[in-house]
């Protein structure tokens, strides 16, 4: 099955980002296809390359590794502007793009799953 994922929250404050990550991993393990992961609103904070949580899981790195495996991960360009993000502040495998990517994921996915507060 083709699955699209939307993340509406940043890392650590809520469980949404962790849940989205683990859902994605589990779906891939079951042989499903992830058409893309869209990081929206505070979700763009998931791609911050300077995240360095002492002694805890590094959520940005987790996303980066997933992206390195070929999973399309996109952070909302406008939301990034609102939060002072530029491309060079993001991990390598999270790209900046507009809501067209969100529309594309919705149109190509059999199921579209949102993780938020």
């Amino acid at each position: 099955m083709k699955i699209g994922v939307l993340v509406l929250e940043g890392p650590y404050q809520h469980q949404a980002a962790d849940s989205a990550y683990h859902f994605t991993k589990a779906a891939l393990a079951r042989g499903h296809e992830i058409v893309g992961i869209f990081l929206y609103t505070d979700g763009v904070n998931n791609g911050n390359r300077f995240i360095k949580p002492p002694g805890e899981r590094n959520i940005a790195q987790m996303w980066d590794e997933l992206g390195a495996q070929g999973i399309d991960i996109v952070a909302c360009t406008a939301c990034a502007k609102f939060r002072g993000f530029t491309r060079d502040l993001m991990v390598d495998h999270v790209q900046l793009s507009g809501l067209g990517s969100l529309a594309e994921y919705m149109q190509t996915a059999d199921r579209f799953v949102t993780f938020g507060d």
């Binding site: 699209g4 939307l6 509406l8 929206y40 609103t41 505070d42 406008a78 939301c79 507009g98 809501l99 067209g100 969100l102 529309a103 594309e104 919705m106 149109q107 190509t108 996915a109 579209f112 949102t114 938020g116």
Partner: protein, 121 residues
Amino acid sequence: MTMRNQVAVLMRKAPYGSVYTAEGFRSIMGVGVFEMDVRVIFIDDGVYALVKGQDPAGLDMKSLGDGFPMLPDFGITKFYVHDHSLAERGLTPDDLVMDVEEVDGNAVARLLAESGTVLPF
């Protein structure tokens, strides 16, 4: 228009306490231009986004009550408000900034089931 092109944008939260309603509004504009058939559903505290006389100037924010009525000019014409959510808050359709279809809970469920995607804000 296939089901995959149908998206229901769900407005659930009060308009100014968090980013969700404003971002929901932006998402309607944003995905609407990509051949998506958008229906907008106001439910729970989301109904406050349509109440007349909103003035968030004290918060240095723009009124969403001015924004939603502009959407039909951009081809977004399907608006629904949950009747029970309105009544619970002592509101009637006359209190709203635009004409929207009043629907009951079953109709909301049907709208969501018929939509390929739901964007919950």
